[in-house]
């Protein structure tokens, strides 16, 4: 049996921020009516966190729920649990109009941490990342340069970012370029 490996095998880069690929993470796409009690219970039961508001995400460690669209959620679990979690949700959602798919191996996840994390992402994404507009717990699907990504703020100076596995190398290169020493702008106030 071959061992699963993540897209970049945990590659990391230290520039004005630290950019690291987070290795194998369990990610499950859940599509269904957010107003449905069955969908809510299936998601929160597996993830063990509260149901997120629109454009928000709720994470504790490797577990979490992210609001992807008015009828889509991303369920985050440890990699080894993903298949079991899918089976559990499918059992709970039997008879409810829904879709549950394990997309762990189709995605890559990065962490961007450091006081300049906002600035590094703001160079790549057309999103207002000022401290007043985007804070911990906020989630946003957008693009980074030419590819779709989604990111959320974990703490005051750290973001988690997901992209498709096929473009993980491209996104890592983008983040490295944006984080290269000498490229600091200092637009956002320190510590905010």
């Amino acid at each position: 049996m071959s061992d699963p490996v993540s897209a970049l095998n945990g590659a990391a880069y230290d520039g004005v921020v630290r950019v690291e690929e987070l290795g194998l993470r369990g990610m499950i796409t859940l599509r269904g009516d957010h107003a449905s009690v069955a969908v809510k219970n299936a998601a929160t039961g597996v993830a063990g966190v509260d149901f997120p508001d629109a454009l928000a995400c709720d994470t504790v460690g490797e577990r979490g729920l992210a609001w992807m669209s008015p009828d889509e959620l991303l369920v985050l679990v440890p990699y080894a649990e993903a298949d079991r979690a899918v089976a559990a949700m499918q059992a709970e959602l039997a008879g409810t109009h829904s879709l549950v798919v394990n997309v762990s191996d189709a995605r890559a996840m990065f962490r961007i941490s450091g006081p300049a994390a906002r600035e590094v992402l703001a160079k790549l994404c057309p999103v207002d990342l000022s401290p007043g507009a985007f804070g911990p717990g906020d989630f946003r699907r957008t693009r980074a340069a030419q590819v779709p990504v989604a990111f959320w703020m974990q703490a005051d100076d750290a973001f988690a970012l997901i992209c498709f596995r096929s473009v993980a190398g491209y996104v890592f290169d983008l983040l490295k370029t944006a984080a290269r020493p000498g490229g600091e702008i200092g637009y956002f106030p320190a510590g905010a």
Binding site: P70, E72, R141, T142
Partner: protein, 109 residues
């Protein structure tokens, strides 16, 4: 730069996150229609330098289609509303009329 607020997810999306879908609320004339109606649909569309009601898709976000009313001369955005609504809602018509006194909503053009 064009910023539209997606009415489905509430995110303020940049033009580069959106996919344009052309004019909204057109009466789409099909193969069974008279030649005059089909000709009018194909060639006699209104295309003013001014107010346009358009379809957009939040392609790099929630993926949903929505409608937007904006002015191509000033780039002012009058508002966005869900794709399921088949004519501009009154608040958007009022916002347009306030800036463009001669403007009136025309069905199907």
């Amino acid at each position: 730069m064009l910023l539209l607020t997606c009415p489905c997810c509430g995110a303020e999306a940049d033009e580069t996150e959106l996919q344009p879908g052309g004019a909204a609320h057109l009466t789409r004339v099909g193969p069974g229609a008279p030649d005059e109606a089909f000709e009018s649909y194909l060639f006699h569309r209104e295309n003013p330098r001014g107010v346009h009601i358009e379809r957009w898709r939040h392609a790099h976000g929630c993926g949903k289609w929505f409608h937007a009313a904006r002015c191509t001369r000033t780039l002012e955005v009058f508002g966005t509303y869900p794709a399921q609504i088949t004519a501009p809602p009154q608040p958007i018509r009022d916002a347009i009329a306030a800036k463009h006194p001669g403007w009136a909503w025309k069905e199907g053009k």
